[in-house]
């Protein structure tokens, strides 16, 4: 899923300064699962914003709403009746949310309430790790099921580099060296010789480097 992190309250307060009627808009997709942008977090952020406004003697008009997904026009449509009543909408979905909302309601000021950080999963409750960089051409099966593009600090396809020490990456003792893990995993599977292949230069056209990506499924289009 897409993992996010709340923006500092100070930054959000600065965004909505001078805007009386505010809507905090949550999303029941990824950000609900990673506890940063669901109904619960909408309540917490809205409450904090109201506290801040009351403290400054301002009208605490901060309302709450959570929709199924902010990355699908049909759910964004649910705002049609109310969107223009607000002086600001703070979307706490991933970066897609504020864009879809502002594209649909171009006259409303929409602000991002979270920072979208990465694509990953939870290794335990409250801990998320990056696993994918959406390079557009998955190769993980060649590397023991571990992605060197997303998980090696240098995205090396022919690692590990000379900075790998005691299982950790040279950038930090808190970052495991994925290439060390790849070597161990391939060895355990008896497939170490497969790593002898010199991986040629990667085609990054399918990645962000090829420009913004669009995917079309003709069979689904209406």
């Amino acid at each position: 899923m897409i993992i996010g992190d709340s923006k500092p309250l100070e930054e959000i307060l600065e965004m909505i300064e001078g805007r009386d009627k505010v809507l905090v808009l949550g999303c029941r997709g990824c950000v609900t699962v990673c506890n940063v942008g669901g109904e619960k977090e909408v309540g917490i952020l809205a409450s904090a914003l109201r506290i801040a406004r009351k403290k400054e003697g301002q009208p605490p008009s901060v309302e709450e709403m959570t929709i199924e997904r902010q990355c699908d026009p049909e759910y964004i449509e649910e705002l049609a009746e109310v969107a223009e009543e607000y002086d600001a909408i703070v979307s706490i979905a991933c970066g897609v949310g504020p864009q879809f909302v502002s594209e649909r309601y171009p006259l409303v000021a929409v602000f991002p309430g979270i920072n979208t950080t990465f694509m990953g999963g939870a290794t335990e409750h409250g801990v998320w790790v990056e696993r994918c960089q959406s390079c557009g051409n998955c190769l993980v099966h060649n590397f023991g099921g571990l992605c060197p593009i997303a998980r090696c600090s240098k995205s090396l396809m022919n690692g590990p580099c000379g900075g790998s020490a005691s299982g950790n990456c040279e950038i930090s003792k808190d970052v495991p060296c994925v290439w060390h893990q790849i070597v161990d995993k391939m060895a355990a599977m008896g497939r170490l010789q497969e790593l002898e292949t010199v991986w040629p230069n990667k085609n990054w056209l399918t990645s962000r480097d090829g420009g913004p990506r669009t995917r079309v499924r003709e069979d689904l289009k209406q």
């Binding site: 500092p8 309250l9 100070e10 619960k40 309540g43 917490i44 409450s47 904090a48 109201r50 506290i51 801040a52 009351k54 403290k55 003697g57 605490p60």
Partner: protein
């Protein structure tokens, strides 16, 4: 025991301190509470094993929110005490009330209707 504790303390009972929610705590401040504390069982004595530890982490979270909002984080505390310690409960209520009195009223005005 008929122990006296300050009348300004409003007790909200929960089955376990672990049931407390960040939102409950924030709402209290939003409504103008000058201070909020969570009274949980002694560490290691939770009937549900870790309820009081979880409560303590939520209290820490709310403290950081208060700090970010420019409100003294000391207005939010966690205390651990045994349910067999009535006098300790009264004592904490008095101490916390005193600490909040020293801080003065919350910068968030109390709800109009209250």
């Amino acid at each position: 025991m008929r122990l006296q504790y300050p009348t300004n303390v409003r007790v909200i009972q929960l089955p376990c301190s672990g049931r407390v929610d960040i939102l409950h705590l924030l709402r209290a401040f939003e409504d103008g509470a000058d201070g909020v504390y969570v009274a949980g069982c002694m560490e290691g004595d939770c009937h549900f094993l870790t309820g009081n530890l979880k409560a303590a982490r939520k209290v820490e979270y709310v403290k950081t929110v208060l700090s970010e909002l420019g409100i003294e984080p000391e207005r939010m505390e966690m205390f651990n005490m045994s349910s067999a310690e009535g006098p300790r409960f009264a004592e904490v209520a008095q101490e916390f009330t005193q600490a909040i009195k020293e801080l003065g009223p919350s910068p968030v005005p109390a709800a109009q209707a209250a």
